[in-house]
């Protein structure tokens, strides 16, 4: 357990520090680099929560995205070193962000998240109900009286099944969305009417 906690702390600190860097560093290069660091850290956190597949997706897509961002940053920003300047809204923005953060933390702390998760316990009390978010190992799940298939499903995440199953419609829709984005992006980038 202590190992998980250690990893968690390292990753979270990295993520938060990186995020702050992204918005505070003046140099656009650096902030982009820091952003990738945040992505990696978040990916790590995903792994920590046994969402390996998601972690992979995260890294792959975002690395691509960041690469593109780099190019544009270089192309379109006159002075990259000073490319990441704040506008006149810093103070109010900071204020708002802080207040919202307060609200979110309050939410996280005050809300009794066990209402539902706890509801599961009576019937399947065998699962060690900790306040932890960690990898439930096979034994744990089997102990919960799950079939091997189910265990497999839970552990290795049948995301694919879901994406062509219950969530097939959003899946198709998102493809349309990408299409639309591509068309729009290209149309705009290609320069309209000239």
């Amino acid at each position: 357990m202590w190992f998980e906690s250690l990893v968690f702390w390292i990753l979270s600190v990295a993520a938060i520090a990186g995020a702050l860097g992204v918005v505070l560093v003046r140099d656009l290069f650096r902030s982009a680099l820091l952003l990738s660091m945040v992505f990696v850290a978040v990916g790590g956190l995903f792994v920590l929560m046994n969402a390996e597949f998601l972690a992979v997706v995260q890294i792959l897509i975002y690395v691509g995205a960041i690469a593109v961002l780099f190019i544009f940053a270089v192309m379109l920003t006159r002075n990259v070193q000073q490319g990441n300047m704040p506008n006149r809204l810093q103070i109010p923005a900071a204020l708002v962000a802080t207040l919202l953060l307060a609200a979110m933390i309050a939410t996280a702390v005050t809300t009794d998240w066990t209402t539902l998760a706890g509801a599961g316990l009576e019937s399947k009390g065998q699962i060690a109900q900790t306040q932890a978010v960690g990898i439930p190992d096979a034994a744990e799940l089997a102990g919960a009286g799950l079939t091997a298939a189910e265990v497999e499903n839970v552990r290795s995440g049948g995301l694919a099944d879901l994406l062509i199953g219950d969530f097939v419609l959003p899946f198709e829709a998102v493809s349309l969305l990408l299409l639309a984005a591509a068309i729009g992006g290209l149309a705009l980038a290609r320069g309209r009417g000239r």
Partner: protein, 109 residues
């Protein structure tokens, strides 16, 4: 490594992103900040999903992964938004030779 701690980390990232989205001049920097917000959301979603696992396991299996599915979609949509965003960046750049948002304020009052 409790649920709360995970949520808190997520919300910090989210709010930092929000701050960036509100306070940056550079269009691209704003896009990056928005990515931060999405990451915060994803973190929350996955954490929630994981936290709900026992309950979900009992109810129906798919729900265990609903959070992750959601996250996948968020990532995808984010990518799409970046794509379109960059297109508009071009448009803006073409019209007023800069990607500084404070320059693009001709529509007002």
């Amino acid at each position: 490594m409790s649920l709360e701690s995970m949520l808190i980390v997520a919300s910090v990232i989210f709010c930092v992103g929000l701050y960036g989205a509100l306070a940056q001049r550079n269009f691209i920097a704003v896009l990056m900040s928005i990515e931060l917000m999405f990451n915060g959301v994803n973190l929350t979603l996955v954490a929630m999903g994981r936290w709900l696992a026992p309950y979900a396991v009992q109810e129906q299996l798919s729900a265990v992964l609903t959070g992750q599915v959601f996250a996948v979609f968020v990532i995808t949509v984010a990518a799409a938004e970046i794509a379109l965003g960059l297109g508009i960046v071009f448009a803006i750049f073409r019209s007023n030779e800069s990607v500084d948002l404070t320059d693009a304020a001709s529509l007002r009052h």
